[in-house]
């Protein structure tokens, strides 16, 4: 049986529906990350679980207990707030022990619990300081410590790292992961940082406009997004999207015309989707890392970002424009996992494996997603230059060979 069960929870603020019937089951010890654009209801849902907001309808159970109407402190949940919400007038020790003190536990027990949590979080030497004497990372640790001492059944985190700087964030990320392993507790974690989501989650919940778009492991979501929204949401730089029109279908392969592309693009459809009619509007997606140098598409460099270990290229080319991309100009983003010396304006040829393409219909539903098991061939401009039929998913291999040097196929 699942540990935390959210059943058709709705939350209205007056006429505004912030959460629209969300159901979710979380197993014991899972680390569930909720992501979604700002205002999609992540915090609201979390606060409903914590009991800080009464829900409009639905039920929430933890273990066997229906906690839908329970008081916050009776729910066995602890919450870590974005801006820490430490009690400024108490020492770190008192902050962490406050819940136990309110519960009337003996002093020795409180002391032991606090000391243990402090050790876990490596803040023992700060126990007698006031919060304002701590750095951001330390404060965040105290906030987590406050949750730990209560030994709750479920931890709730609302963007706990977003006030920290990049280096500290990645460090705290690692620590939180370790902590989760160590405590084995159920955690629900809200963030808008996809790196956090991808790296920490056992499962990611993508919320959009108060409803769940998709739930799955990070790689499931990355590789097989159910919708355009999820596809665009994960990955940075974003997936390159191109608007196109279906030309014809041959079996489960679709030929799509994309303005600015020298010829039609062939996309192998997923098995479980209906084949769209010719003339239908579709949106094709290709991830920046799936675009490789060499290929039939000739573009020119608009911007190079050398990050040392990887290089981001932003390419522009005649009529070919991405839609809904990070750069307002509709550049094609390319991520290369090595250093390159390219100059702005320089022409480059790129291509991609048709098996790495994504395709969505005009309502944003998935038509095609890449098959990570099959090393595809590089698309080389028009035509059906691959054996008919798409290879079924083979055994998952540890990594996909990259052959960046390979030219037009």
């Amino acid at each position: 049986m699942s540990h935390l069960k959210i059943n058709r929870v709705e939350k209205n603020y007056g006429a505004f529906h912030a959460v629209k019937g969300v159901s979710l089951e979380v197993e014991e010890g899972e680390f569930v990350v909720m992501v979604g654009p700002s205002g999609c209801g992540k915090s609201t849902l979390l606060r409903c679980i914590a009991g800080l907001e009464p829900i409009t309808s639905g039920t929430i159970t933890v273990g066997d207990h229906d906690i839908t109407r329970a008081e916050p402190w009776d729910r066995g949940v602890a919450m870590v707030f974005q801006n820490y919400a430490l009690y400024p007038h108490m020492t770190v020790r008192d902050n962490m022990g406050f819940a136990l003190k309110v519960a009337g536990r003996p002093k020795a027990e409180i002391r032991a619990a606090v000391d243990k949590a402090a050790q876990t979080l490596r803040i023992t030497e700060h126990l007698d300081k006031k919060p304002k004497a701590l750095s951001g990372g330390q404060k965040q640790r105290v906030a987590i410590g406050r949750a730990i001492t209560r030994a709750p059944e479920v931890f709730l985190f609302d963007e706990p790292l977003s006030n920290l700087d990049a280096a500290l964030r990645s460090q705290m990320r690692v620590e939180l992961g370790r902590l989760h392993n160590q405590l084995g507790a159920t955690m629900i974690y809200v963030t808008h940082d996809q790196t956090e989501a991808m790296t920490m989650a056992s499962r990611i919940v993508v919320l959009n406009g108060g409803v769940i778009e998709q739930v799955g492991t990070p790689l499931e979501l990355y590789n097989k997004p159910e919708s355009l929204f999820v596809a665009g949401f994960l990955g940075s730089p974003r997936m390159n999207f191109f608007d196109g029109r279906v030309l014809e279908s041959r079996g489960r392969e679709l030929s799509v015309e994309i303005p600015g592309m020298p010829g039609p693009v062939v996309v192998p459809l997923d098995d479980d989707v209906p084949v769209p009619q010719p003339g239908a509007q579709v949106r094709m997606g290709v991830r920046p890392e799936a675009v490789t140098l060499g290929g039939a598409l000739e573009l020119s460099v608009a911007l190079v970002e050398s990050l040392g270990r990887e290089t981001l290229l932003y390419l522009e080319g005649g009529g070919l424009r991405t839609v809904d991309s990070e750069s307002a100009e509709g550049f094609v983003a390319v991520q290369l996992p090595s250093q390159h010396q390219l100059r702005v304006g320089e022409p480059v040829k790129v291509g991609w494996d048709p098996a790495s393409l994504y395709l969505f219909d005009d309502s944003g539903r998935r038509l095609a997603t890449p098959d990570p098991g099959v090393p595809g061939r590089v698309w080389a401009g028009g035509g059906w230059n691959r054996p008919q039929g798409r290879a079924r998913r083979g055994p998952t291999r540890l990594w996909r060979a990259r052959r960046p040097g390979a030219g037009a196929g």
Partner: protein, 302 residues
Amino acid sequence: MTDMSRQTGATPTWYGRIAASQSMLVLPALVLCTLFIFIPAFLTIVGSFYAFGLTSERWTPVGLANYVKAGNDPIFWVALKNNLIIVFGSIVMQVGIGTVLAAILDRGIGFGQVFFRVVIFMPMVISAVAVALIWLIILDPNIGILNALVKSLGLSPPTRGWLGDPSISIWMVLIVAGWQYTGFMMVLILAGLQAIPKDLYEAAALDGARGMRAFWSITLPNLRNVLLVAVLITTIGGFKVFDLIFVLTGGGPANATQVLGTYIYLQAFTLTNMGYANAIAVVLLAIAVLLGWLQLKASRQS
């Protein structure tokens, strides 16, 4: 105010320039304060070592005699005691009730917040003279509504009158002062309450503290600085009080509501003992400066 330390030790250009050539700009303030505050204060201190009448130009040096006289003057001690009663009474009444009202307005009630806030604050803007006159008539034993009210409740009002009974009158003064200033304290504290982050309460709710427990554990400690300011304003106000008592009771009956402020006035202008009045004024001055210094220290700490 902790920023002061951050600026120290730097070589100034811009701010240094202000310090050098633009420091002239503090002159108007300095001159005005010196002329109308520091020099009179200095003369008051000097005068406290002399005996002279309001209208006489002969100053007789008497050393500390005026202070000795104050020490032996029961009315001086009554006045000081009354100041203390007003200070502590006001703290209890204005800051205490103000805090309760503010807490209720902040979290306890859903609507009508603005209405209540406005109404309760309103007396603050009315002149103390007007306040005293209104209350003077309300408390009048013959035509006042308080007597009428009390009688209509079947009780009997004090026979010597609300302001005529020495054991009651100082408390009536306190009530009138509370009537006027509680709203001010309430708004001050309300502002402090609203500056407390809401998520502290949420964290406390998750920790099991709600209602009164949250009030004691979260609200009050976080309100500490604001309460400190409120207490100090009330205290200084309590020592400076003059208009209200001057109009309401004139210090009477039989000096029962005399405070330092009115006693200075009595000694100086009615009894024309200027030197003695100055000595009392210096006591008041010392208390006020001490409190001002405390306030500065307290706000430095926050």
